[in-house]
């Protein structure tokens, strides 16, 4: 089943993809599969578990299902302060 999701890129992910967000149509069932698809598209050098996934402004496990129109972020390790 295809879904359209809105991916927002921050920090080094934005630098790598060259954009702050994009909407894609995907057959990925969960956020882990979505990361793999995006990582392949942009040749990310990072494993998925370097990030924390967030769906609709909530941090979620990698096994979380994605739904049509979800807003997804991959949060890099924090470096505030």
């Amino acid at each position: 089943m295809k879904r359209t999701v809105h991916i927002h890129y921050v920090a080094m992910l934005r630098d790598r993809t060259g954009s702050s967000q994009e909407s894609i149509t995907t057959v990925a069932a969960n956020v882990r599969q979505l990361y793999s698809e995006i990582a392949g598209k942009y040749e990310f050098p990072w494993p998925h578990d370097a990030f924390r996934p967030a769906i609709n402004d909530t941090i979620q496990p990698w096994t979380s299902a994605i739904e049509d129109n979800d807003r997804v972020l991959f949060l890099p390790p924090s470096s505030g302060g």
Binding site: H8, V10, A11, F51, D57, I59, P77, S78, S79, G81
Partner: protein, 136 residues
């Protein structure tokens, strides 16, 4: 209460928000931008964050720390955007009844904030290079 600020942090104004007379101790941590890092001269930092996620994670941290220490008041502001060396990147105030728990709670909170709140820092150096800190 937590918020992100795209303008210089006013320590005095934040301090003046505190008015809890039940607290005998207020510990304030100010994180200052250094002009050196990894052996290089830093000319500026740039911070970015996801506001909703940052706020939610901060609130979780407050709840966790409050289970260990009797927090009376907390306040935190973190900069986003460009911050020059010497500028305040984060202001954190933690008030409790007594000083020992205020020091400990403040230490725990700043450690957790730095580790978990979705905020990212890019360092710019005088050789023209730049680097995302903690990049995987």
């Amino acid at each position: 209460m937590f918020n992100l600020a795209d303008h210089p942090i006013d320590s005095e104004q934040l301090r003046n928000e505190f008015s809890a007379h039940t607290a005998g101790a207020l510990v304030v941590f100010e994180g200052i931008v250094r002009d050196f890092s990894h052996g290089k001269k830093v000319v500026r930092l740039e911070y970015e964050a996801t506001p909703a996620l940052a706020n939610a994670e901060y609130e979780l941290i407050v709840q966790e720390v409050a289970r260990q220490y009797p927090l009376i008041w907390t306040r935190c502001v973190h900069r986003i955007g460009v911050v020059d060396p010497g500028g305040i990147a984060i202001w954190l105030g933690v008030a409790t009844a007594h000083r020992a728990e205020a020091f400990d709670a403040c230490r725990q909170m700043i450690d957790q904030i730095k580790a978990r709140v979705p905020i990212w820092k890019k360092e710019y150096y005088d050789d023209g290079e730049s680097e995302w800190i903690n990049s995987p």
